[in-house]
Every structure is written in C-alpha cells, then in structure tokens.
C-alpha cells in the first residue's frame, strides 16, 4: 500500500488536514508541538487505497527535541511514496526552508498552502502560477478548517499514487545560505504584502506577554477559567445528572436487578447495597454514578475551556510569562504546556513532555506532574467530597500540591547535574476558535476519558468486592494500620482507597466517601492519594517515556513524598506542629 506523509512546520494545520483526509480525529491546537507522536490513517479514493501519516511539526530535518526526532525518523525510515508538505502561507519565508530540504531528497511532493483565509485577512497575496512554475510542483491553496482545497488535494493524491503525472522538482541541491537567498528570490517574485493596521487581537497579543499587562491578563484568565469550569460542572451535576440518577436511573436499576437476580455475590457486585452512591459500591450504582455524575461533568467543562484556550493561542503566552519561575525548578516556560494538560489527564501530559529538549528536563517535568498535578477526574471527586464543607479545604489541598511542586522542583534542579536549556519557540497568533473543531476536540477527549475510565472503574469495583470477600483487605489493613493511624491520622479502612489509587484516582477518592472522615482527614487522604502513586495508565506511559530505571526513581520519590507530606499535614491540621 502507498504511504503518504504529512510534513511541515509546527502549527501549520497538518493535523487538521489529516483529519479531513482520513476522518480520523486527532488533537489540533493553536501552538507548536500539539502532535508529538505519529498517527496513521487510511484514505480510499475509488479503488485506490493508501496510508496517510500525521507527523509532528518540524522546522528542519535536523531535530532539536524528541517530537522533531519523530518527524525526521518518519521521513527517512518510512520510505514515503508521497509527501504532502503543508505550509502556513502567512509565513512563507520560514516555511519554504523545510520545503527545500524535503525537495532535495527527490520524493514526490505536493505543496499545500494552508491558512489561505488568514493570508487574505492579513493582506498577503501569493501568485500561485508563478510559484508552481518556480518550484516545478503542484501547489494547492487551502483552508483546512473549512475544508476548502481538500478536494483538489485528494485529486492530486489520486493521480500521483496511481503513478500518473509524477513530477519531481528540478531545484538543485543548495547549502543553507543559498537556500535562504533562493527563498528571497522566490518571495520577491510571487508574494505581495499590503500594509494593514494591527487588529484588536494583535494588540491583545502584545499585551499578554508584556510584564505588567501580561500578569494582569493571566490572573483574569485563570480566575475566569476556574469559575467557568466549576460553574458548568456544578450546573450539569445539580440540575441534570444528579436528578437523573436519583429520580430515574437509580430506582430503575435497583428494582431491575432485585427483580431479576437473586441476592448473593452477583447481585452485590452489580448494585451493592442500593443506589446511595457513597455506600453502595456496585458496578451499576457507584461505578456509574462516579463516572457519569461526578467526574464526567467536570471533564466536559474542563476540556471545553482548555480547548478554547488552546485554540485561541493563549497557552504559549502563559509559557513566556512563567519562564523565569520555571527555570528555578529546572524547567523552562514551555513545560507549562504539559503541566496544564496534566490537570486534565496525566497521560497526554507525559507524552507532551516530548516537546522539551533534554532528558533532565523531561525527568523533572514528568516527576513533578506525576506527584503534584492531580488530574480532572480526581479533582472532580475532591470537589464533590469537600465542596460542601467550604472552599478552604480544597484550597488547602491545592496549596499543598503547589508548595510540593515548587519545593521538589527546586530540589531536583539542585541535585540533578546539568543546566536547563533555554526557551526558544514560536508564539502563534491569536485566533478566534473554530467552533466545530473545538466541539469535536472536546468530544474526542471526553470519549477518550470514558473509554479508559469505564473498564478500569468497573475492574476496580470488582476487585474491591472480591478482595473483601476473600479477606485480603482485612489483612492488609491490619498490617498497615500503624502507618495509617499514627502518621496520617486515618482509619484503617482508608487503606483500601490508597491501594485503589494505583488503578484509578477518581474511584479511589470516591472510596473515602463512606468512611465518615472529618474534613481535615479528607484533606490528608486526598493529598496522599494525589501524590502517592501514578494511576496504572500513567504508570505505563511513564515507563515508555523515561524508561524503567527513571520510573523507579520517580515512584520511590512519590511514595516518600506522599508519606512525609501526609504526616506533616496531619500534624499541622491537628495543631500538633
């Protein structure tokens, strides 16, 4: 089967083109480094079938981070039959450099000039015929987000992969300075730029990185973000999901199971002790409730707002503002992006650390995220448990995690040899998010959450029921009871929750609900749960990303940090320190 590679600079719209061609959804955002691995998709034109691969963006064929390495390796090792070189037409000069590097390798190539709409707005005119003539290849203008130009692209792909009409560029090999000179010549021939006054958005772009206005804007954005996430989440729970569960689903499912399955093990596993979610611990009661009525609403609101900020282009600006502080923790500003993704789910956050340059940075970033960034699933349950006692308890947990983040970062920065590399990246323009793309992305992430949460939460509930039945839980509780009561001030039963933390943080946190803990005890337990161990999904990605040895270090660190922090918190909250 023919193989087609999508190559180009970061943030030019490759992933949007990929989704358009293959129907496979991949995450697309307005910052460089969205795609960090490759995704394969399939395109069928009549009887002509082919594989299309979405690749991380890169500025050249000599990589400067892991994500760019993936791009280079794909280009050289995959032996593509055709390259679709996607360019941002508003920045032709820089984009053409990679194009010239690609054309040197004599692989059939199509040039897609994306962001044609943005070019129009900016007053940039490109003479397509002339460009086509100079490069000697087919050049197609496109607006990937609306699908404009994709049909033409498909036609060309069809022709070339059927071995018709293959043209290779006749541009000779050049060294770097010749390349730039040649690009200069091309542009003077094909490009005309009208002068336009900066738009309101462009003025806002500058204001968001300047020291004073930038910090004010950041505070406003963070405040609004939190308000809206919590607002939407609470609304969905209080007015839609809770009533649905308690008035319709709960009574219905309990009577259904009671009428059809005799009391006994299976009955208990399915609906536990009834539909009161806190105490029931049945698959179809607590399991369903935690996923759909506690966590899902927050996942939905978080990813919608995150997607908005991503597509608007705000995150890189936050990265610039935080750069100095991050340097004190052995990272640089761009680590802000994986960290923010981590508040949604730690798994994509770990992958996203591939945009960082060095091994040391990657280790620090992954460790800090694993220890001190709680995912949205866990946050949702924490809000559910502690919200009724007052916001101060939630602030206490997040404050503790923030202190941990800073202290641990500083220590790691001090202990680990080597310097943290400097920040150097392109700050994308602000764009008004394209609603359809934003909704699609939100849905994709929510679906991802459900696909992962459902099996693990069910598995977890099954495991608890079985472990209780055979008495393992009792024995473990006895064994660890001194640690629990003397160091953390928690009852023995809380050990079940901590163990479950290895499987799923949301379910584990929800297991604290029936224990009648005081708010202070809940704070200790939630903090220990957040810091102690990565959930199984994160654990697997961690091994892949940093290797077994570094992962073991991280885990030892996590366990010790969790115990120490929990003990100190317990002492402080009880006025003993």
């Amino acid at each position: 089967m023919k193989k087609i590679l999508l190559m180009g600079n970061p943030n030019v719209g490759k992933s949007v083109v990929f989704s358009r061609l293959t129907g496979v959804n991949v995450i697309q955002s307005n910052y460089p480094g969205t795609t960090v691995g490759f995704t394969k998709g399939h395109l069928k034109i009549g009887k002509n079938e082919m594989d299309i691969i979405d690749v991380p963006g890169t500025y050249s064929l000599s990589p400067s981070c892991k994500a760019e390495e993936v791009a280079r390796d794909m280009f050289f090792d995959e032996k593509p039959d055709l390259i679709i070189n996607v360019l941002d037409v508003t920045n032709l000069e820089r984009n053409l450099y990679l194009t010239l590097q690609i054309l040197e390798k004599n692989i059939p190539t199509v040039i897609l000039l994306n962001m044609w709409d943005a070019a129009k707005r900016k007053g940039i005119h490109v003479n397509l015929e002339k460009l086509q003539e100079i490069i000697g290849l087919k050049v197609i203008p496109a607006v990937a987000v609306t699908g404009e130009g994709i049909k033409d692209l498909v036609n060309i792909i069809d022709e070339i992969t059927l071995n018709k009409n293959i043209k290779l560029s006749k541009i000779p090999k050049m060294d770097d300075s010749e390349k730039w000179a040649f690009i200069g010549e091309i542009l003077s021939e094909v490009q005309k730029i009208e002068h336009r006054h900066p738009s309101l958005l462009e003025k806002l772009e500058d204001a968001s990185v300047k020291p004073f206005s930038g910090i004010i804007i950041a505070i406003i954005v963070l405040f609004i973000t939190m308000q809206v996430i919590i607002g939407i989440g609470e609304f969905l729970i209080n007015y839609i999901l809770d009533p649905l569960y308690y008035q319709y689903y709960g009574p219905f499912i309990t009577s259904l199971v009671q009428n059809s399955i005799p009391t006994g093990f299976i009955h208990d596993i399915l609906i536990g002790s009834g539909y009161e979610y806190e105490t029931s611990f049945g698959l179809l009661t607590t399991g369903i409730y935690v996923i759909f009525a506690v966590v899902l609403p927050y996942i939905l609101s978080f990813y919608f707002i995150l997607g908005f900020l991503e597509d608007f282009g705000y995150l890189p600006r936050l990265a610039v503002l935080l750069d100095s502080i991050m340097h004190k923790l052995g990272l640089h500003g761009y680590a802000t992006i994986p960290i923010i993704l981590g508040f949604g789910c730690n798994v994509p956050a770990m992958l996203s650390t591939r945009i960082l340059e060095g091994k040391r940075e990657k280790f620090i970033a992954t460790t800090l995220i694993a220890i001190s960034i709680p995912c949205m699933a866990q946050t949702a349950v924490i809000i559910g448990l502690l919200g009724k006692y007052g916001i101060q308890y939630i602030i206490l947990i997040y404050g503790t995690l923030l202190i941990l983040f800073i202290v641990l970062g500083s220590i790691l920065n001090f202990l680990l040899k080597g310097e943290s590399p400097e920040i150097f990246f392109e700050i994308p323009p602000y764009r008004i998010p394209h609603m359809e793309t934003l909704l699609k992305k939100t849905w994709m992430r929510v679906k991802g959450f459900l696909l992962e949460a459902l099996p693990f939460v069910f598995l977890g509930i099954l495991a608890i029921n079985i472990l209780y039945l055979i008495g393992v839980m009792g024995a473990l509780s006895n064994l660890l009871s001194p640690i629990m009561s003397q160091m953390l001030g928690l009852p023995d039963q809380a050990i079940d929750a901590l163990i479950m933390g290895f499987l799923r943080k949301d379910l584990a946190t929800a297991m604290l609900a029936p224990l009648n803990l005081s708010p202070n005890q809940l704070v200790v337990a939630c903090t220990v749960l957040a810091t102690s161990f990565p959930c199984i999904a994160t654990f697997v990605v961690l091994i892949k990303e940093i290797g077994v040895k570094d992962m073991l270090k991280t885990v030892v660190l996590m366990l010790s940090v969790a115990l120490i922090t929990g003990t100190i918190l317990n002492l402080i909250l009880n006025g003993l320190l």
Binding site: R94, W180, E205, F212, G214, V320, S324, E422, I423
Partner: protein
C-alpha cells in the same frame, strides 16, 4: 552594535551577527532568525524572562542567554 537583550522595547533592528556554535546558529536560522533579517522587539517577559520579538509579523520567545548572542543594529 548591541545585543537583543539591550535593544529597547518596541524598537526595530537588523540582525548583524549571531555568536555561538553551529548548533545554536542553525536552530535560530531555521526559525528565520538570521543575519540580515529585520526584527522588532516586543518586550522582555517579567522577572528577567525571555525576549519576545517579531520577525515578519511572526512572534517568538527567545531565552536571555541565547538573546545575548544575537547582535543587532537599531534602525
């Protein structure tokens, strides 16, 4: 000639020289930060943060250490 760090906010300048090894030079160059290019410095980020600059309307952030190696002439 002054370095990017010394250039005042809001000023335009031409890049005259980039110090440092071929690795750094190449990294800057592929992002179109190269000798002869016109730039505009937007600002320095807070707390001695990176320099934010604009080339052909495209913005980028560059760490101070690197910015010190980029020599420019104000226009």
């Amino acid at each position: 000639m002054i370095t990017l760090v010394e250039l005042k906010n809001g000023k335009n300048a031409t890049i005259k020289k980039i110090e440092g090894g071929p690795g750094l030079k190449n990294r800057l160059e592929v992002m179109n930060l190269r000798e002869g290019k016109r730039i505009r410095k937007t600002c320095s980020a807070p707390l001695h943060g990176p320099v934010v600059l604009e080339i052909d309307g495209f913005k980028m952030a560059i760490g101070r250490g690197m910015a010190k190696k980029v020599w420019v002439e104000e226009i």
